[in-house]
């Protein structure tokens, strides 16, 4: 490392602002109790949107902070991505938190803080920074998952998530130590340079490190067999946090994985490619098959998200510039879709207290808009056209096939076909089954608006995905420079 470190703190402005926003929220919560209940989510969202706009200022800029944090299009992409999804979750939480949770200030503050962790997972090009960012995100999520006082499931989910998370980060750290030991550095580019010079002397150590890193990060993104916390944490967590888990936490894991594997481990591609391919295959299969047997919508979506992770891992296995942008594309499509689905579920839960799939009976009668949006989201997840899922899957699978992993693509398509069944089961309850009790439900404008906006996004990506694909392309271009 040269001596002239670039310590330009202005590069980190958005995150400082996020930190400030979190502090502001905490402070308001503490000192202005009257204010807190109604306005905090809106304040959070407004602040996040402002920061989002601010972070757009780094579009097409390229710089780094001390070699640790890289501000390039990839980072900017994920800044926007994470801040936006946090904003959505914050808004979606408004009614839920007010009605069911205490300590809203901490809730929103933790959401905002976790965003910083997620962003730096994407931005860091150094293992320590990445690790710490990961922990920041994880800590926030541990707390948020167990945030509900009254719900025993929340405690249990939190406990499992927390302990297993700590276990996984121990594994990750141990793996990182091998990487560090074998390359002499924790900077991605230096690791890559070291490995490019040959790995003959320390093959096994390197493999060990790769396996452990993969396990640690695989845990974060819920790859089978490191996934087992997922359904429990999803089910236990307060609903908006389940949405957040499925969106930001997953995306951040992939952001990290993508930058790490493309930046540091590319020279030893042969060593890890098959591992990820194997994980991808088994993840897709297990996630989708077990989802067939679920009766709780949160658990269903947990397993469905595991299945989706399998698809995304495929792109990682077939790592190339094309598949990386396909991965980003799919990730964005998936998150938008999933958030849309969760908004509907949250709204429905707010109104009816039901989260069993059976509880969605007659939703089309009682809340047609929500039902339509949820159906669209589920269709999108299953990969039906007009919706984002079709295009993103098409591109993703095609990219994987183009890299010589046709067999993985075949499994993916097959599993994607299996997934139709359980999505349709939900749609069936909503549209075909008779409602348990009659009467239209009054859905708050905020949630309806949010749902419509997200589903518009789903359509936009599904019908004219060119822009998003170009953005993803721009974002990943430098990873392979």
């Amino acid at each position: 490392m040269s001596n002239e470190l670039n310590l330009d703190y202005s590069l980190l402005t958005p995150e400082f602002c996020l930190g400030g926003l979190a502090a502001l929220i905490l402070a308001l919560d503490l000192f202005a109790p009257r204010f807190r209940k109604e306005w905090l989510p809106y304040l959070t969202a407004a602040g996040l949107v402002a920061i989002l706009v601010l972070s757009l200022g780094w579009v097409n800029k390229e710089s780094d902070f001390a070699g640790l944090i890289f501000i390039d299009n990839y980072t900017t992409f994920f800044r926007v991505f994470f801040i936006a999804s946090t904003a959505v979750v914050a808004l979606a939480s408004a009614h839920y938190v007010q009605a069911r949770l205490s300590n809203p200030g901490e809730y929103y503050a933790l959401l905002v803080l976790s965003t910083i962790g997620a962003i730096y997972m994407a931005a860091s090009r150094e293992l320590l920074t990445a690790y710490i960012s990961l922990e920041l995100l994880s800590f926030c999520l541990y707390v948020l998952v167990s945030f509900s006082t009254s719900d025993r499931r929340s405690h249990e989910g939190g406990l499992k998530y927390m302990l297993l998370g700590a276990f996984a980060s121990a594994l990750l750290l141990y793996g990182i130590s091998f990487i560090y030991g074998s390359s002499g550095s924790t900077f991605y580019d230096e690791i890559a340079a070291a490995y490019a010079g040959g790995t003959d002397g320390f093959e096994l150590g390197l493999l060990m490190g790769l396996v452990l890193v993969l396990a640690g990060l695989g845990f974060k993104v819920a790859a089978v067999p490191f996934h087992m916390w997922t359904p429990d944490a999803y089910e236990g967590a307060p609903l908006p946090i389940t949405a957040y888990l499925s969106a930001t936490s997953k995306a951040a894991g992939f952001a990290l994985l993508l930058r790490l594997f493309s930046g540091a481990f590319m020279p030893v591609r042969d060593d890890w490619q098959w591992m990820i391919a194997a994980l991808a295959a088994i993840t897709m299969v297990v996630g989708n098959l077990v989802a067939l047997q679920q009766s709780n919508i949160k658990r269903l979506l947990a397993y469905s998200s595991i299945g989706q992770v399998g698809y995304m891992l495929m792109a990682l296995a077939a790592l190339s510039s094309a598949s990386a942008s396909a991965l980003l594309l799919h990730l964005s499509g998936y998150v938008i879709t999933n958030l849309a689905a969760f908004i509907c579920i949250i709204a429905w839960y707010n109104l009816t207290d039901k989260e069993e799939i059976r509880g969605f009976r007659g939703m089309a009668e009682r809340a047609p808009l929500l039902a339509a949006v949820l159906a669209a989201a589920l269709f999108s997840l299953s990969g039906m056209p007009l919706f984002a899922g079709f295009f993103t899957k098409f591109i993703l699978f095609q990219a994987v096939a183009s890299e010589g992993f046709l067999w993985l693509a075949v499994i993916a398509v097959t599993m994607s076909f299996v997934s139709i069944y359980y999505y349709l089961m939900v749609i069936k309850e909503m549209y075909i089954s008779e409602p348990e009790e009659p009467g239209r439900l009054q859905v708050p404008v905020l949630l309806s608006g949010l749902a419509v906006a997200l589903v518009a996004g789903v359509f936009y990506v599904g019908i004219y995905p060119r822009h998003l694909l170009e953005v993803a392309e721009e974002a990943t271009k430098l990873l392979f420079a």
């Binding site: 942008s325 056209p385 096939a401 183009s402 075949v410 749609i427 995905p465 392309e473």
Partner: protein
């Protein structure tokens, strides 16, 4: 004037209508109906125009071409990576016309739906757009896109507006049928999807544009491996035995207009796909696998016909007869000679119109009688003479009576089959005779004979239904008497398929 905007309109108009319908408040059901039928009429007009404005001697393989770049030069996509490339050849033209006819009559038939008719029409038009899209797309991505789009609304259309059937020994709920249909069709798309991957990767030119890919010479072994993917994938949709069981159950459970579109048009997508993706893209693979297809196709014909004979439910009988008739299409395609393929395409059109008529009529009856069990009917001819007349014409067309469309198509198929596989051709003709048996049994049992008191208050079908039926009959007779407009278009394009002729 030939312009690809016609084709674009056939896709865009139903989609925009679907969008517009979502805006109309559901408390104006009649406004919704009027808009739907008007759209159906426009689609009919557009497809009619596309069919007749198709120029016979233009020399271009595809006409009405339109190319909008959608995405290119990104990632693995090269120049013209994904383009909204529309165009029809002589095979696509009658298919577009068929879709127009069935969509229009389908909207008319759907007039009387009043349970959530807005949602119904929205889904219906999405389905229609998908079907038009498949027939008009010259880009693998969009082909697949529209294919899935056509499948998308099926679950709800059947699940919400469909009907369950209960028989003494078994029952088929609409949920079951809808689910099976969806899974089958999406499962079929798995094969197509994989085939598309393989073709794209193997071609290695970064484009999904079909005409461009047609220029590529694929390795023979590759063709042999990939062709079955398209064959099975598309074959499922075409009701290929033994992947046919979705179709009778699905048709029975679906609401009338959806059955019409489904049996009439959607099943043709499969056969169309075998031509577009299979035969045109991978001629050597086709050559290698066609003996298998012709065998299965013959099984389809005979198996479907015999199964139809045992049915007591009118719709099931028609459903199995569709399996049988689609067998002719498959057999015709598998002959790989111009006559047989020509016959197959004719049969696609013919069966489409005819089966749409059959389903429309069954629907008209079911709406009044609330049963489709042919053994409880009798003497309907006295109460509903026009209904019976329409039904009989459809039935006669389906048993291949000369002067109606079925004969022209089947005759070509037979002649084509005899050129290469005389024994199978004879079996096919026997299948036609069996068709006569079950059709006539049904007519005799349900419609003739002494009037049954139970049905004393049945009324003649409505004027709307009569209009729809008359339109369909007009095309059945038109093609039966004057097939040249169809054959001229089809033959020209069939002769361009590599490996045929």
């Amino acid at each position: 004037m030939q312009t690809g905007y016609i084709l674009l309109a056939t896709i865009a108009v139903p989609l925009l209508t679907a969008l517009a319908l979502t805006v109309i408040p559901s408390r104006y059901p009649n406004a919704i109906r009027v808009l739907a039928v008007a759209t159906g009429f426009v689609l009919f007009g557009l497809s009619l125009y596309a069919f007749f404005a198709y120029q016979l001697s233009s020399g271009d393989q595809f006409q009405f071409e339109l190319r909008w770049t959608w995405i290119e030069n990104i990632g693995f996509l090269g120049e013209n990576g994904i383009t909204l490339h529309l165009g029809i050849d002589g095979i696509g033209a009658p298919m577009v016309l068929l879709t127009g006819i069935v969509a229009f009559t389908g909207t008319i038939i759907s007039w009387k739906i009043d349970y959530r008719n807005k949602d119904y029409f929205v889904l219906f038009f999405v389905l229609v757009a998908g079907v038009f899209g498949v027939f008009a797309s010259l880009d693998l991505f969009f082909w697949f896109f529209f294919y899935e789009l056509a499948v998308l609304p099926m679950y709800l259309l059947i699940g919400v507006w469909g009907s369950s059937s209960v028989f003494p020994t078994f029952a088929r709920t609409k949920e079951y049928s809808a689910m099976k249909l969806m899974l089958y069709l999406v499962g079929a798309s798995v094969f197509i999807f994989v085939g598309i991957f393989a073709v794209f990767v193997e071609a290695g030119i970064g484009t999904f544009d079909l005409p461009t890919l047609y220029e590529v010479e694929f390795d023979e072994n590759f063709q042999k491996i990939v062709f079955p993917l398209f064959l099975i994938g598309c074959g499922v949709l075409a009701g290929l035995w033994p992947f046919h069981t979705w179709s009778p159950d699905g048709h029975v459970a679906a609401p009338t207009a959806v059955s019409m579109l489904h049996a009439g048009v959607l099943m043709k997508l499969g056969a169309f796909g075998i031509i577009r993706l299979g035969m045109q893209l991978l001629p050597e693979g086709a050559d290698f696998w066609m003996p298998a297809l012709i065998t299965l196709g013959t099984v389809n014909v005979v198996y479907g016909a015999i199964s139809a004979m045992a049915q007591t439910d009118l719709k099931y009988m028609i459903g199995y007869s569709s399996v049988s008739h689609m067998g002719y299409v498959l057999v015709g395609l598998a002959t790989l000679n111009p006559i047989g393929v020509n016959g197959a395409v004719l049969q696609m059109f013919s069966h489409g119109v005819m089966t749409a008529l059959l389903f429309a009529m069954v629907g008209a009856l079911y709406d009044q009688a609330h049963t489709r069990d042919m053994s409880v009917f009798g003497g309907l001819a006295q109460k509903m003479p026009r209904f019976v007349a329409f039904f009989s014409i459809a039935g006669l067309a389906s048993l291949g009576l000369p002067g109606l469309s079925g004969f022209v198509a089947e005759f070509n198929v037979f002649v084509g089959t005899f050129q290469t596989y005389p024994a199978l051709g004879a079996l096919g003709i026997l299948g036609a005779a069996i068709t006569a048996v079950y059709i006539l049994r049904m007519l005799s049992q349900a419609f003739f004979g002494p009037a049954n008191e139970r049905w004393a208050d049945l009324k003649e079908m409505s004027h709307l239904e009569q209009a729809a039926g008359a339109l369909l009959i007009a095309f059945i007779v038109f093609m039966g008497v004057f097939p040249s407009p169809f054959v001229d278009r089809i033959a020209d394009s069939v002769l361009r398929i590599p490996g045929v002729g």
